[in-house]
Amino acid sequence: MIGLSAHLGSFHSHGRTSITDVTDELPTFAEIFETLTFQAGFNTNMVVLGTTLLGLAAGVVGVFALLRKRSLVADAISHATLPGICIAFLAAVVLGHEGRSIPILLTGATLSGIAGVLCIHAIVRCTRLHEDAAIGIVLSVFFGAGVVLLTYIQKNASAGSAGLDHFITGQAATMVTQDAVVMVSIAGVCLLLVVLLFKEFSLVCFNESFARATGWSVSLLDLIMMALVILVTVAGLQAVGLILVVAMLILPPVSARFWTDRLWLLVLLSGLIGASSGYLGSSVSALLPRKPAGAVIVLAAGVLFVISMLGAPARGVLASLVRRLSLNMRIASEHLLEAAYEQEGRPIPGDQIRGLARLRAWPLWTLPLMKLTLNRKGYLASVTAEGWRLTPAGLARGAQVSRNHRLWEQYLVSYADIAPSHVDWSVDQVEHVLTPELVAELEHELRMRGIEVGAS
């Protein structure tokens, strides 16, 4: 049943607690402080530093993968590294080297990652299948081949093969200083390349045909981008594992996208989000038992994603909800002002407001909000039993909206050849967003046609 072997402690062992200890021993503040300020012992420091820089590089590189709509190619690449790792291991053993040597394994991973990218490219080029199918094929077949080799090694090869499967879900706890150095240097190379090619990358991301027309080789730049993705993936294999490393390439840029529309800011923010999830994740993992670094890093990035998606002021869900609601309220209250203007300043009785609400399909709970909107703009004088009474400013605004309505209606009938019986609805949308300049232009146009528009 579902791989339920009862073997103990194969996953994660921790210095201070045994795996059978169910209660989580909370770290002291001193320990937390030490870990977060890089004073917790050399190995922990290296792991935290390595994953932080890895997060930074992944966040930065991921932006370009996201903008090129290639985020899931990274998923295929990370899965495609497994056969390379296994072949490198087997080759090293055959040649009489230590099989579990990290540089050899990572070289193998890089090569098969490259092979995976080339296969995707070939499938899209030479068949009528789309990129999603190509990604799915490469991802599953390469990973399947890796699993075949992995089981072969585990069952047949000599000792020293233990831990190859740690590349699947990652295990930062077994990392040594040398591994962290590899991570740091790969991250450094990626960042350097992105800084050097920033202009070219942004050109390809935003205007591919312009890039082609000005003489850049788009496929070469794409290939360099993919090479960076492969490098980051390989660097993240040990700490995060091949299944989750794709999250470090996708989550930070998607989160950062909610905050800004400017590329350099996007890259900066994404790198920052990646770095902080790496830093927080590996610190938590070092401090608490049974918290595998890869998963915690991804979950930290996930929390930042949820915060960004909900709360970012630029494109976040809440912000756009508020914006939409306030626009709706403005439009609704202007309809109310219009109605008041047409009644020549008499207060609008509650019945009529409710009727208007039914006609315009406003939910009744919006009425207090509308009252608030009118009040804030100083349009509402008082609400009595008689109804809502408006201030002179409110009536003036009502007159203005009403005038906009009729101007636009007149314009549509005389310029756009729309039947008079059809103009009312389309005008209802436009009258609220007409700028004073546009109104002036409308007046001018209509006067040119000899249509009397009256003074504003």
Partner: protein, 432 residues
């Protein structure tokens, strides 16, 4: 050397093949709707559902875990849609966001389960344990299999897969028309009065069901492979949906059976232990795809290269005949001597000449080439088409006379000639 032991091999083989068929069937619509990676996302995301179900039930309860996984699968589909729509995130990235967070949650939860002395291994969810379906009280011979006992002792995983496969077949046959329209033209589907979105959700639920039913026996990697590879291979064999579906089933069965025995037999040839069955089936599916992509008679790389070559030769032959005809017409006398005049590379020119002689369209050698009667007829027809097109482009399409030659040069080989025209083309040459 392949040996088949009923006890050890029958149920694992059936389970793997059923999983392959079930996923292969549904995969057709995923591939057509460009959603091949939904299977990838769903099969990664069932992990936290499984572990939570285990933690809640505090024991290995198959039905609770099945429910947990199915719920997690559904949640994935809904969350991906939500991130896509509400957050305005690109579809691929939305998938990546949801499944990686879910999988990370699963890995973390596994660690908590490990604290209770029981280890749900993440890698086992990935590549399954078909070996665990061995049938210890199996009858010794195939003849004894035809008894009620066989059904009674069928493992639960096989039953689940059988049910899921039947459900998929029913789903696809009942909604075949709707699925087809939704796959090729979602807008038409909506305008015809049934919701393509609703159908999408139904399909996703089926995929989630297939994933959950499969991964227990065969692991999620086989699910991902079978949702894409057979359908993608079949797409390269047939242009019609029904044959494509049947082909995909054939590919799925072939990957299942060949992969199963390869996992045991190939290592045995080198005196080694068997390798992962799910992995081996995936590799076979990949090899089948690679073979189809290269060798498919309609869509294969080879077939297309061959067709292209044949067409290029035909065009070159026609161009050669037309060149000779034009020179005759101008009275320049002796036919083209230099290869530059027919703008063909030397070795291509030789092969085209051979073809022309074989069809007895030309006589003589390079330098003194002349058209036979047949050749003259072909060339005349071609030049007529060329000049009629030029005339049409100038008069009807408003193209400048000095720009029409290139277009006409291409059109003359394919498009039928415009029905009528004047005596002369825009350059003043007679139209034969």
């Amino acid at each position: 050397m392949i040996t088949f032991d009923i006890g050890a091999d029958l149920f694992p083989l059936i389970a793997c093949t059923l999983a392959a068929i079930c996923c292969g069937l549904l995969g057709n619509f995923l591939v057509l709707r460009k959603q091949s990676l939904m299977g990838d996302a769903i099969s990664h995301s069932v992990l936290p559902g499984l572990v939570l179900a285990f933690l809640v039930a505090a024991e290995i309860n198959p039905s609770v875990m099945f429910a947990g996984a199915a719920l997690a699968g559904l949640a994935t589909v809904v969350l991906i849609e939500a991130v896509k729509k509400v957050g305005n995130v690109e579809p691929g990235a939305a998938m990546g966001v949801v499944f990686s967070i879910m999988f990370a949650l699963g890995v973390l939860l596994i660690e908590q389960a490990a604290a209770r002395n029981i280890d749900l291994d993440a890698s086992c969810v990935l590549y399954g344990q078909p070996e665990s379906l061995a049938w210890f009280s199996a009858p010794p011979s195939f003849g004894d299999l035809f008894a009620w006992r066989t059904i009674g002792e069928m493992p639960r995983q096989v039953m689940t897969l059988l049910a899921m496969t039947l459900l998929s077949v029913i789903f696809i046959s009942v909604f075949f028309k709707e699925l087809r329209i939704a796959a090729f033209d979602p807008a038409l589907a909506t305008s015809l009065g049934f919701s393509a979105t609703l159908l999408h959700y139904a399909l996703m639920i089926a995929v989630a069901g297939a994933t959950v039913a499969s991964f227990e026996a065969v692991g999620s990697i086989l699910v991902i492979a079978m949702l894409v590879c057979p359908a993608a291979s079949a797409r390269l064999v047939s242009d019609r949906l029904l044959p494509q579906i049947l082909w995909s089933v054939a590919f799925a069965i072939a990957s299942g059976v060949v992969g199963y025995f390869a996992a045991i037999a190939v290592p045995a040839m080198f005196d080694r232990d068997a390798v992962s069955i799910a992995g081996s089936m995936t590799v076979v599916a990949g090899l089948l795809f690679a073979f189809t992509a290269v060798a498919s008679p309609t869509q294969g790389v080879l077939a297309r290269a061959f067709r292209q070559r044949k067409l290029a030769r035909l065009v070159a032959l026609e161009d050669l005949l037309a060149t000779i005809y034009r020179r005759d017409e101008q009275g320049v006398g002796a036919a083209p001597a230099a290869q530059a005049e027919v703008s063909l590379q030397s070795h291509r020119l030789q092969s085209v000449l051979r073809l022309a002689r074989k069809r007895s369209l030309v006589t003589g050698e390079l330098g003194s080439l002349a058209l036979t009667n047949d050749g003259r007829r072909v060339a005349e027809r071609l030049v007529r088409k060329h000049r009629l097109w030029e005339d049409y482009l100038v008069r009807k399409a408003g193209v400048a006379p000095d720009h029409v030659h290139e277009s006409a040069e291409r059109l003359e080989h394919f498009a039928p000639a415009p029905s009528d025209g004047p005596e002369k083309d825009p350059h003043g040459k007679p139209i034969p």
